[in-house]
Amino acid sequence: MSTASSELIEQFAIETQEHLDAIEPILLQAEWTPPDKPAIAALFRAFHSIKGLSRLIELRGLETLANHAESLLGEVRAERQALDSKVLALLLEALDGIRLLREQGIVNGIDSQPPQELIAALDAATRGSAGGPAVAFAAAPAAGAEAALHDDHDTLVYFAEMLVECLPNLAVLAGGEGDAEQAADDLDVLMVAAERLQLNGLHDRLARLGEASGPARIHRLAAVLADARRFGRLTGLDVGADAALAEAAVPLRRAMSEAAGALADGIASDPVAAVALAERLVGLAAVGLEDGGIAVLALQSLGNVAVQEPAVAALRLLAANFASDGVGAPDLLSMAAEHLRDVLLVGRTFSAPLRKVLEDRGIDVELLGEPDTASLVQLATILEGGQRKLVAVTLSLPPKNDRPGLLRRLGRLFQPALAQASAPTGIEAVVLLMVTSRSTAGLKSDILGAYTDAVFVDVHEFDGQAFEHPWAPVRSAAAGSGGIADNQVRVPVEILDRLFGRIGEFFGISSALNVLMVDSQVPMVLHRLADHLASTAPELLPSIELLQRQQSDLSQIEAEVHRLVSLVHEATLGLRVIPLDVVFNRFPRMIREISKAQGKIIRFEARAEGIKVDKGMTELLADPLMHMLRNAIDHGIESPDERMALNKPKVASIRLSAIQNGNRITVEIADDGRGVDAERVRRRAVSQGLITEAESQKLSKDQIYRFIFAAGFSTADQVTETSGRGVGMDVALINVSRLGGRIDIQTIPGQGTTFRLDMPLSAAMQTVLLAETRVQTVAFPERMVVEAATVPKSAVQFVNGQRAILMHDRFLPLFRLADLLHLPEGPSEQAGEDLAIVVVTSKRFRYGVEVERILRRHEMLIRETHPRIAQLPGIGGVSTLGTDRIVLVVDQDGLTDLARGAIVPGMRAVPRAAE
């Protein structure tokens, strides 16, 4: 290996990794489904690129191996070699070899040689391809092809030739010159051909021409000629439309004149008839007569009193021009058309100053379409200056049935200038463009007030800074950018992590300051001081007022700083988002290897559905998924013989899928194996001392299944390479808990098991309700909180010995949070007669949690939690509030388990209050 620069090696590492990532999924999928030609070509290109990159930094061994793999794929691509299991195994082996040689080259700078047996095997397969069976390619549609009128171009050419021959002869059917019998024959010929080409519209109009009589014939002929012209335009073929037009010119011009005159006469008196006349006029103009544009403009003028006069004038000119057989005043006609168009467009175009303001703020005016006058007036108010600003409001859409009503309400309440659908992060949303004097925070709050169920609402001010929105110029729009590579910068993840860390700290300090300001007693003290000094030392009042003003200014500036820091913080969280595929793509190979080692045949499907998640989440999710998949192979999936004996397909299935639901993500691992044997799990739990026999008999099946996640638990009789040590599923539960999620199990004996991991999509930020015990601040994730209330101590009652409280006609069991979490008791500051209660729900269990004091709702950054803390029952994470206040974040399911465990026997079911 040469002394390649570190930058070159780094580039080599990145680019070869991308190719390797592309190769493996195709090869693994090929075991089940024959790849199509584009997939084979992609494989070939990837090996070819690796070869070229290796040559660049003189890794000859790697180049040799990639070259031999590429040669074999060349045979496959030429259909001289089938991509059978033997070839696939060889290519996978080559892939492993490439990985190893690449690693040695990058890390140690060593140019190692590939195994000669592998090279020989690849060569043998390449040489042996002559005469071999051809690979079956899956049919693939031609990429980028436009929807075509017909697949076979020759057929279209043939039909165009028929039109050239037959169209001019049809003029006689509408009063033109010619042979009527020939015309009837030609009409039949064209109808048969149009039917065969499934040009049903043209066929229909040809048929109607054949059936027509009287004045309608010329309009029917015009419809046929217009269709023929469109066919010619779409296919780029000559269809003889000009010749046909020449043959039918006299009746067509007469008809144009009559229709234009009638429309000019009736445009004001009979609006319904006017529409029909205008459409007829447009139909005649579509054959290609000169000055036909007036017809189209006339149709657009209907119903608009302001343009009636110029429209009538233009129509009269048109009628006169066609009546005089072309001896009119063409200049006058085009001037009339221009004038009509100008009058139509009054109030419908962007003025130059408005266009400039919009472009200065990062909007491509062309992408706004052609809005109506009301929208343009609304946009133009930005020119009035003052507090007005241009904002984009993005808000998630509710379920489909609720959308029409919500959209109408939003339109009426906020009167946006423009609206467009969007799907940021995969959630269907609407983006509203509006001019407003409200602050972005105030506007957001107004919208949330009008639409309380919104999953998210974002308000961005257009200030010339690029952000993702539908009207962004193409160069800065995330979508629609032609050269993706040109718009991307590769940044090492360490640098990003450092940046995120610092911004996170900055956000933490800003939050601390915000807490200080919100909790500050200064305004109240100043107020009381002012009251006191008013009578005792009034000369000091101006000084107090000065302090109050400064305090108020400080508070406002702090709020703005906190808002901006929060925006920066949110933006950096967005930068951390990566496709879930990155995690899912690790598993196909692992499953292939383990299943082969165990003699099992497993079809593995992974569907990430394009979901993107926080990078930190992928790191925490990878291990749980790996353990659960291994567990499924080891314990869930039967051997092929067992499956056949059970009348199940020999090929087992494991499906890994993810769906996003609002701001939550559900990942499922479903297998069609033997299911979990609850009795076996119970016996194992007893034998491993996790529970007593007597206690275990009281448990439901769902409770028994939870032992799977107990540390050290295993039902395996033997320890295998991959499983049976009782390590793994507990890690899965811990990591998922750290992500603020939970794991559910559904299992049917003999049919399979589904593990469902439900987690918040952005694990880093959580909205919480802050509360205090006597010694500790705690945070309840908002999703578990039903209600926070203060009730008199006398409201507490005992139901079968259990403390309970009556709320909304329902007795809720009541627990002290300090008792559930085993927190030390401190001195109570609450000497009053009231209790602070947080009503929470989880696992279909609703209960009250008594705290010392309820503080407020808060957006909190959940920090990385030490495993020891994560294992504490009822605790899901920690965070800090202000500079040094540690906050314990409650784990929804863990706390509920503790509450269930603490409930006094006899109150298993929550009693209803008497009506």
Partner: protein
């Protein structure tokens, strides 16, 4: 019996809103969200009218209107955010064979489909169906 409508549009949110709004007055006999599917549906499904939302197509929507007019007998009505009277967009759609054009007015997603644009659409679709 309700008139039969084929609904074509590549923007899913509006596509669903239109289906729900127009489903009251029309029998929606076909839906398509790609040009290929649109030609297939219009070719193979007898209908009384075709409604095409012309926004967000990667190819020229006027060319799609022409194709739809050629392969199907039903009149094509275009719904567009680029259809200001007198504007080039409206000219192009009518010239391509659209029987009528309904302007969305304020962006690609009309907010009031219950009344506003919704009523205008129903009226236009009903009008072009009548002989």
């Amino acid at each position: 019996m309700s008139p039969r409508l084929v609904l074509i549009g590549c923007e899913p949110v509006l596509h669903d809103l239109l289906a729900e709004r127009l489903g009251e007055a029309f029998e929606i006999v076909g839906r398509a969200s790609s040009a290929d599917d649109a030609l297939l549906v219009v070719r193979s499904t007898p209908a009384d009218v075709v409604l095409l939302d012309t926004d967000l197509w990667k190819t020229d929507p006027a060319a799609l209107v022409s194709k739809l007019a050629l392969v199907g007998a039903a009149p094509v009505v275009a719904l567009s955010s680029r259809a200001a009277p007198g504007g080039k967009g409206c000219d192009a759609l009518l010239g391509a064979g659209a029987r009528a054009v309904v302007a969305k007015g304020a962006g690609q997603l009309p907010l009031d489909l219950i009344e506003g644009v919704g009523e205008a659409l129903v009226a236009t679709l009903t009008r072009v169906i009548s002989p």
